[in-house]
């Protein structure tokens, strides 16, 4: 029968692909809408040619078909042709026969040595270099052959689940690389080449707001400010202060002026107040630092947002299924064997796992779901309630603890500075005061380390319907903890520190974020050492069990997301923070890789890798990136930048930089008045944002309705298939009956004849 020979017979495949290329040529730009397809599902009625059962011996007909296919392929565009060739299920020899007769145009091939184009092929035409889009280039860069061998080893031993953690790490590395390149090129490099004058004028002109009594020097980091950078002591690497505090690493170093070269009034001294130095700017190369800062950060975030949404939708598209799957056993039988695993012990483990899962599924499918008694249900509810109370209670307690600790540290710092200012002499031991700065990060990292263990313990006593529900609950609890900690910290930094009258609060916040990032890394190392290495030694030597610890994928991925959120929060205050994050991720990769290989065993529970990858990318986009960008936007929009340092000193908000620039343009060139008016109506007016949000919501609603409609159509089509199956059975039976009657009829006649 026609549909049965698809994929089997060469002639049938050639015909099928001839039809497909024909359709592709006819309907190049548009996908056929559901309305256009006839309701019948029978191929002939749908307008597809019926692929009849060809015999192999009819070679002349086959060569005719091949010619037709080749002529169709030639008429397609290059990328379509390549894609068609690749997806044809013929053998290589056949394909090469078809392609040899094609005269491929002489396109200059981009050297594809290192870069391998993956699913970006579908979007970007490989032979047309001109049509590369930024997103495509980055998607391509993602599949650079970095760490190919190491990833293969991990996949071979542990399977797809653990491999997804390392692939996620690689993705984050590329995000940070992009950020680092952008900030490095546009911010760090110009500023490093044109260092600002070493001496900060004493803050006599702008006294700090009278929250604290006026002091001569208000510097919590370096004891005496006009001395220049302090000498390098090892503690700087941990605290980010000291030697680093007055370097290109932090916001405070950046000048608020236009960096000029070949300037009329004494080239080395940049003209004060970037807005007034226009005539100087016109004469040479000028680079307005405030504008550069504002626009670089804004564009970097915008592009990261686009890339994130793009990769999220791609991953979602691959793993989302419109309707619930009912064929669990069949799927388990055919799709569960991970072909990547090559190590003998892992293979044995995988077989065992699959056997267990099949048994469980069989038990699920065959048992009749006996309703639990009311008492049992109540007991389960109580246990759940208790576990959730414990978890949320501990989360709230830790958040409050962090809040009070931060408040306490702040008070201590203020006191110390006041003491310094009053005495005017030697402060308390500077190393101790630096070390005290580490108290908050250490506390938060400790909480992040210990509390998930508590959540795990709470989860053990609960009873869940399925392991995936258990997994989701664990992730939700972890996420709740991290979100609450980060929001308390953001409130503290942006609410308290920014308005505390500190001389350069942005640099301080930047240093805090650096410290947090570093402490997070150190504690992850500690966790790897204790949790995996020592535990393995302990269980082997002391408990004499051969069971090694299991690599907890979800927890490790959430740690990565937390680190990345810190990095995104800190880009505004510390342009070099992505660089630090890159180093951290590189080190983390090698450490985790060796730890996993030495200490861990493959997870026993089934791990839905593609679904979890989608979940993690979504988590990276929604709480993580969204939160960071909201904080950064809030900082830029409403918080007054410090008056004595940074590229925005003297402005009321950072956004004012953009506003002033537009006004300046308008003043300089009266033809651009429309730009200023457009700017004031579009960007300043909140109505525009509301309208944009409304449009977004309408699009989302529309798409969800489309999905609902498609679900209904799928259900209807499945009904139809079932009915046609019934029809077929009926007809076959009828056929058999008729044949039987025909056979019987002459037999009866011959019987009658013989009887007579």
């Amino acid at each position: 029968m026609p549909s049965r020979t698809i994929g089997r017979n060469r002639g049938a495949i050639l015909s099928q692909y001839y039809n497909r290329t024909l359709q592709l040529r006819m309907r190049r730009q548009s996908r056929p809408s559901l309305r256009d397809l006839p309701h019948s599902s029978r191929p002939s009625l749908r307008g597809y040619r019926v692929e009849s059962d060809f015999s192999e011996t009819d070679s002349r007909a086959e060569s005719v078909r091949r010619q037709a296919l080749v002529s169709n392929l030639q008429k397609l565009s290059v990328s379509d042709r390549v894609r068609m060739l690749r997806t044809m299920p013929l053998s290589m020899a056949d394909k090469r026969q078809s392609s040899v007769s094609l005269v491929l145009p002489e396109d200059p091939l981009p050297s594809s040595g290192q870069i391998r184009v993956t699913s970006a092929q579908v979007l970007c035409h490989r032979r047309r270099p001109g049509s590369y889009c930024t997103a495509c280039v980055l998607v391509t860069a993602h599949s650079l052959q970095l760490w190919q061998v190491a990833l293969k080893r991990v996949g071979g031993r542990f399977g797809t689940g653990v491999l997804s953690y390392f692939l996620f790490l690689k993705t984050l590395l590329f995000f940070n690389l992009f950020l680092f390149l952008v900030t490095g090129l546009f911010l760090v490099l110009p500023q490093a080449v044109h260092p600002p004058p070493a001496v900060h004028p004493p803050p006599a002109v702008h006294p700090p707001p009278a929250v604290h009594p006026p002091q001569a020097v208000h510097a919590p980091q370096t004891p005496q400010l006009p001395q220049g950078p302090a000498s390098f002591s090892g503690l700087e690497l941990l605290t980010g202060g000291g030697y680093f505090s007055d370097s290109v690493m932090y916001y405070g170093y950046y000048s608020d002026t236009t960096l000029n070269r070949d300037c009329d009034n004494n080239g080395s001294l940049p003209s004060p107040g970037g807005w007034r130095g226009l005539d100087c700017a016109r004469q040479g190369l000028s680079y307005s630092m405030p504008l550069a800062y504002f626009f670089t950060i804004g564009t970097a975030f915008f592009i990261t947002c686009i890339i994130l949404v793009f990769s999220m939708s791609r991953s979602f598209g691959q793993s989302f299924r419109v309707e619930q799957s009912t064929s669990l056993l069949a799927m388990k039988a055919f799709c569960s064997w991970d072909f990547k695993v090559v190590k003998t012990s892992s293979v044995a483990l995988m077989s065992e796992n699959i056997g267990t899962q099949l048994r469980e599924l069989l038990a699920d499918v065959t048992r009749n779901h006996a309703n639990q008694t009311a008492g049992q249900r109540l007991w389960r509810l109580l246990v759940h309630g208790l576990a959730w109370t414990v978890c949320s209670g501990s989360t709230v307690a830790c958040a409050l603890a962090v809040h009070y600790l931060a408040q306490h540290m702040h008070a201590v710092r203020v006191l110390q500075a006041r003491g310094e200012g009053g005495a005017g002499g030697v402060a308390a031991d500077p190393l101790l005061s630096e070390a005290r700065l580490l108290a908050l990060p250490v506390g938060v990292s400790l909480i992040n380390l210990l509390l998930p263990g508590l959540f795990n313990a709470a989860g053990w006593m609960e009873e869940y319907d399925s392991p995936s529900v258990r997994n989701s609950v664990a992730i939700a609890r972890n996420l709740m903890l991290k979100v609450s900690l980060l929001s308390v910290l953001c409130f503290h930094w942006l609410g308290r520190e920014a308005t505390s009258g500190l001389q350069c609060w942005e640099s301080f916040v930047g240093q805090e974020l650096y410290r947090f990032l570093l402490m997070d890394f150190l504690f992850t190392l500690l966790d790897t050492l204790l949790g995996e290495f020592l535990w393995r030694l302990f269980s082997e030597k002391v408990l004499k069990k051969s069971r090694r610890p299991v690599f907890d994928i979800a927890r490790n991925v959430l740690e990565l997301i937390y680190g990345q959120t810190l990095a995104w929060l800190g880009v505004l205050f510390t342009p070099l923070l992505p660089g630090v994050q890159i180093i951290k991720l590189l080190l983390l990769f090698y450490i985790k890789m060796s730890s996993v290989m030495l200490n861990c065993q493959a997870p026993r529970k089934p791990y839905r890798a593609s679904k979890m990858t989608t979940v993690f990318i979504t988590l990276l986009c929604f709480p993580s990136f969204l939160g960071a960008s909201v904080c950064v936007t809030y900082t830029m929009w409403s918080i007054a930048p410090s008056r004595a340092c940074g590229p925005f000193r003297g402005l009321s908000t950072m956004m004012q930089a953009g506003r002033l620039w537009v006004e300046q343009l308008r003043d300089a060139n009266p033809h651009l008045t429309w730009l200023a008016t457009a700017h004031s109506y579009l960007v300043e007016n909140p109505l525009f944002l509301f309208v944009a949000a409304g449009v977004f919501l309408i699009i989302i609603y529309f798409n969800s309705q489309v999905v609902g409609g498609q679900r209904k159509v799928i259900a209807l089509l499945q009904e139809q298939i079932k009915n046609e199956g019934e029809d077929k059975k009926f007809l076959i039976r009828q056929l058999q009956n008729t044949h039987a009657k025909k056979r019987d009829a002459p037999a009866r006649r011959s019987q009658q004849d013989s009887a007579c």
């Binding site: 994929g7 394909k95 064929s327 669990l328 991970d338 099949l358 069989l362 890798a609 199956g725």
Partner: protein, 187 residues
């Protein structure tokens, strides 16, 4: 490019690039792997298209396939004669379909071929039994295997003939989000 390689002509490499999901560098690497399976049989110079086929036993000894319970069926599905003797074209084809970039439909076609042990174009109960035994290394009892096979066919069979045709199989595969990531060998 760097050193001029003499294993393939440029046209051959272009053709390979067009017909598979590999780049030139990867095809040359694959040739290296093919060569080291049988250095005395496989010529280094492929410009004249030598007719060299490696037997099944050599191919399944590769570390990527050695522990796979379906290794024999995989190699057989990608050979011209159906017995597992692979030329270099078949070898490249096999890893191309099993690579990351092959689309779902292509993988589904070959997965169907692999699981079809008696090569009758259907996944009948015997095929499923064989699949399960190899998957679980005979851990499940006979009765459990029978039950699983029956239930699986019941779930996936749409037209009611108690065996899975390619259409049934493909329909089931499209609902399995993990298929693309598990049906993948990294070479």
């Amino acid at each position: 490019m760097g050193n001029k390689q003499t294993i393939f002509t440029d046209e051959q490499l272009d053709a390979y690039q067009d017909c598979t999901f590999f780049t030139r560098k990867e095809i040359l690497r694959l040739h290296g792997r093919y060569h080291e399976l049988a250095p005395h049989l496989v010529p280094m110079d492929y410009t004249k298209e030598p007719d060299c086929k490696l037997p099944l036993a050599l191919i399944v000894a590769m570390p990527e396939l050695n522990e796979n319970p379906f290794r024999n069926r995989i190699v057989e599905s990608f050979s011209e004669d159906g017995l597992g003797n692979q030329s270099f074209n078949d070898f490249v084809d096999m890893f191309s379909v099993l690579s990351e970039m092959a689309p779902r439909e292509l993988k589904a076609i070959f997965a169907f071929k692999i699981y079809d042990f008696n090569v009758d174009n259907f996944l009948c109960k015997e095929d499923l039994e064989q699949t399960l035994n190899r998957l679980t290394k005979e851990e499940l009892t006979e009765e459990e295997v029978q039950l699983v096979c029956e239930k699986a066919i019941e779930e996936a069979d749409l037209d009611g003939d108690h065996k899975l045709s390619f259409a049934d199989f493909e329909n089931m595969i499209t609902r399995a989000p993990d298929f693309l990531s598990t049906f993948h060998i990294r070479i």
